[in-house]
Symmetry: none
């Protein structure tokens, strides 16, 4: 609770302090930006609260812990949720075009991570949906050297986007293989060994192709095991495909930069006849060292 | 059923409408091509029907669902199968060389995805084979920007084909390792811990090498666990091989494009008879070094 | 048995036929080489016999099958073993330096794949070691377009050899991690949940790091599951390393060829002023098309 | 015990022999360096002792073995620990700045791998922590052709460091996905099938995403299995990312060498004041186009 309390403190002060002068702009700078020390502080506190609240929700689901600390967790959740509610409202009133924030990616996440607890009055168990707050952690990138990470993640996203059609084909193949192999297994194994229905077999097929292999369902008939072996080796080969694609695409996206880097030109092995300087540009007519005209006949 | 009905409607209309004028050509264009709006519509309906029928077959295998909706599913299957039957016949009569279609990849799939239900009168359970219809989903590529996807899949296929000999060697290694390690495990573990026979042990070995690891069979003796550990680490190393191959091959297939970079031309091994300069372009008539005409007879 | 019998036939004939004239050289050519039709036939028969014998041994270990076909399998094994024995002797007497064959890779395999059955009189169960015959299947490469496959496998082997030091470091890391993490899990989980001893925990660690995950041993305490999660994610990252290494090394080994391909030279975008021909070599002084001297000033 | 005894011998002799003349420097050379034969010998003995002690600790945890050989193992551990204690002290007294060693990576490891046994008087079971000695095995690199391996491992480390931000983003994604998917599974599956709490579900999610798949917890409801399938396929795609990254980074780190290809030089953005030609070499004094001297003041 300790940390939690001090959060509230800092929160109260901030609130008090803002409601004088052009508080809207001030508030906006603090809530939306991480450049001012106060803004940074705010984001850090926010992250801590998010982590705490996610932790609370997770712990609450553990019976033994819930029995002991139910009160603490319950209050904690509410305190944080109320804070988030105020924050959400603040975000809306301190921005010019509220609609723009409300329907933005973060806006929707913020809303979704505030509402469930209120819903829990009507819908039992919906408070667990608070873990969607984990998504709010994405704000962490605002505090880290954003550019760098964002740059990287963009590279990743690009690599993934470039290989989308391939991935699509790949998933399509996995699906078709799973359906057909699943049916086969269903017919061979029968209900005895967990292949209770075709959907269940398809589920097993995906578990196997992805090399997860829970073992909750497993073939017992020699024939079934034989087919399973084939499926596995197939999955083994298949796993190579997306990896290969991504790494190739990713490598390409990296090479791009080096390749058309304009600050590199090809140089040949001509030697200037007056100063002997080497490494002239292919299109050089004069020595870059002594200014003497280069001998066009001069071959190496 | 709703969607299913309207399919039939549109189907009936189409049929009615075609039997005037040169209906064969019309029908052909609609069934075989996806360029005309009607052709596109037809393919879309086809895909929906395929998905539906696969879904029906899968659901029918789930007892709880089958008990409730047996009638619906049964009728649904038949309606779609009859539609497919008509479609199959239509494909045959509207094409010049029926044999060419019948023995084509799609022709065979279409046949296989129609016959099982009729067989189910004779062979019980064979109706489940209807899931082979999933293969018909490959038609989806006809509606999507085919070229692009086909292009990609060709690249993939090419990458896989290029690395076939390696993959072959690789599978060969896996097989031999599995057989020998399997026997070893059988001798060490004995029947107690699920290694009932060498084939079973080999199956376990494949399950382990592919990192699937169901756990339905698992070593219990320290010695067995030791060998298992070695097998796993081997499998771990082995998994690197196909992935490495595919990604390398795939990367190469991408670079290919770069290679026929216009600023590189192929040079031959002609030697200029006057100055002996080498590496002339294939289409060179004069020596790039001395300007002497190259001997056109001089072929190697 | 049928195939098996005819093998013997062809074998007997061969034998009869050889014992006239310089039979040693003849025999040598047939046994050691796969160029002559007879040599090829011999190798093909050999492969079939190897496959058969491996199959026999495997089936014999399946109780249900063994009970029914014990006689058949037993005789089959002996027939093939005797054939292999004769072959082994033949290989020794038809080669100049027997020692050279005996201690060669294949020589040892051939011996190991012949002896177990004889040992089975003394050592019960040793006949199962006959599956080592699987190694003899490597001879298949003699019949296939060897060069090509050997070439490929050499490339693979080279890639693996080049990345040996890395792989070594990698395995070393895996081992140390496993030992320490294993001890930790043993202390945390205790005997209750299968972590009976440190070696067992280390075994579990390897099972987990390699993402095999049998599940015969699995953490039950929250703390144990937490550490397990960390181990898994580590294993997840670790799996990337050998794959990355191999694919990079392999890619390099492929690029090698393309890179220093001497039949490609860089061409520039000069245009001959008399004939306008393009794509001249960087060091070209005369147009390769019309022999006109190229303007050294001519810049693009 | 035999080997163990002789270790002590050689140890005693060494000790005796050193305490005459400038023994500190001698000792230092032997303990810290592996160049002198004696130094090498010392390191080899050290490694053997480390392996032995780790082995002892592991075996001691196996009840059956411990019951039989408790005495042996117990004494063995103590003998080795005492040797390590002396070694540790020796390392401190023979180095100029002891603090430098004590707080170095190896210094801490050496301390941690000596203390646990002494602690075991106070803390029961802490002696198992002796397995931390496994870390001491890293000294092996001192005996192997260090440079080479260190070089390799540096390359690896570099590749990993370069891809740190990506890996971070990647782990971040895995974590968030696990939390949200875990909650979902908890709500869908309920306590029945092992999803006892959200943390447990998150643990399951990580087990699944990493394709380990113990199967100790597994979904049973169709809905749960459906979501699980999606998670697996996601994990399947995700596994491609770190592998792709590492291999790409690694490949780059290898290409680096190629990059400082001598036929490429860096060019700056100077503009010749007479002809305005650009892209002059950094060390160019004259314009490669017009031969005019470049303005040395002209810096950007």
């Amino acid at each position: 609770m300790e940390t939690n309390d001090q959060q509230q403190e800092s929160f109260k002060e901030k609130v008090k302090h803002f409601f004088q002068g052009d508080w809207k702009r001030k508030l906006h700078r603090i809530i939306y930006e991480a450049d001012t020390p106060l803004g940074k502080l705010f984001d850090v506190i926010l992250l801590i609260l998010i982590l705490l609240s996610v932790l609370f929700v997770m712990l609450e689901s553990v019976r033994t812990i819930d029995e002991r600390f139910h009160q603490v967790l319950y209050i904690g959740e509410w305190v944080i949720t109320i804070f988030f509610t105020f924050e959400y409202i603040a975000r809306i009133i301190t921005i010019k075009k509220p609609s723009k924030y409300i329907f933005s990616f973060y806006g929707i996440i913020d809303f979704l991570s505030t509402i469930p607890l209120y819903l829990s009055f009507i819908l039992v168990g919906s408070n667990y949906l608070l873990t969607v707050r984990a998504l709010r952690l994405l704000r962490v990138f605002r505090i880290l050297k954003v550019t760098r990470y964002v740059g990287e993640s963009n590279k990743l996203v690009k690599a993934l986007r470039d290989s989308r059609p391939k991935i699509f084909i790949f998933l399509f193949a996995v699906l078709i293989i799973s359906i057909i192999a699943g049916t086969l297994m269903y017919l061979i194994e029968g209900e005895a060994s967990g292949f209770k229905s075709i959907p269940a077999s398809v589920y097993w097929c995906i578990v196997t192709l992805t090399t997860v292999g829970f073992g909750d369902i497993a073939p017992v008939t020699p024939m079934g095991q034989f087919i399973a072996a084939i499926i596995m080796i197939m999955g083994y080969g298949i796993i190579a495909v997306p990896t290969g694609i991504v790494s190739a695409e990713y490598a390409k996206s990296m090479e791009k930069k080096n390749q058309d880097d304009p600050s590199y030109v090809h140089v040949n092995t001509h030697a200037c006849w007056s100063c002997g300087a080497l490494k002239h540009r292919d299109d050089a007519d004069y020595c870059h060292r002594c200014g003497e005209m280069l001998d066009p006949e001069d071959e190496f």
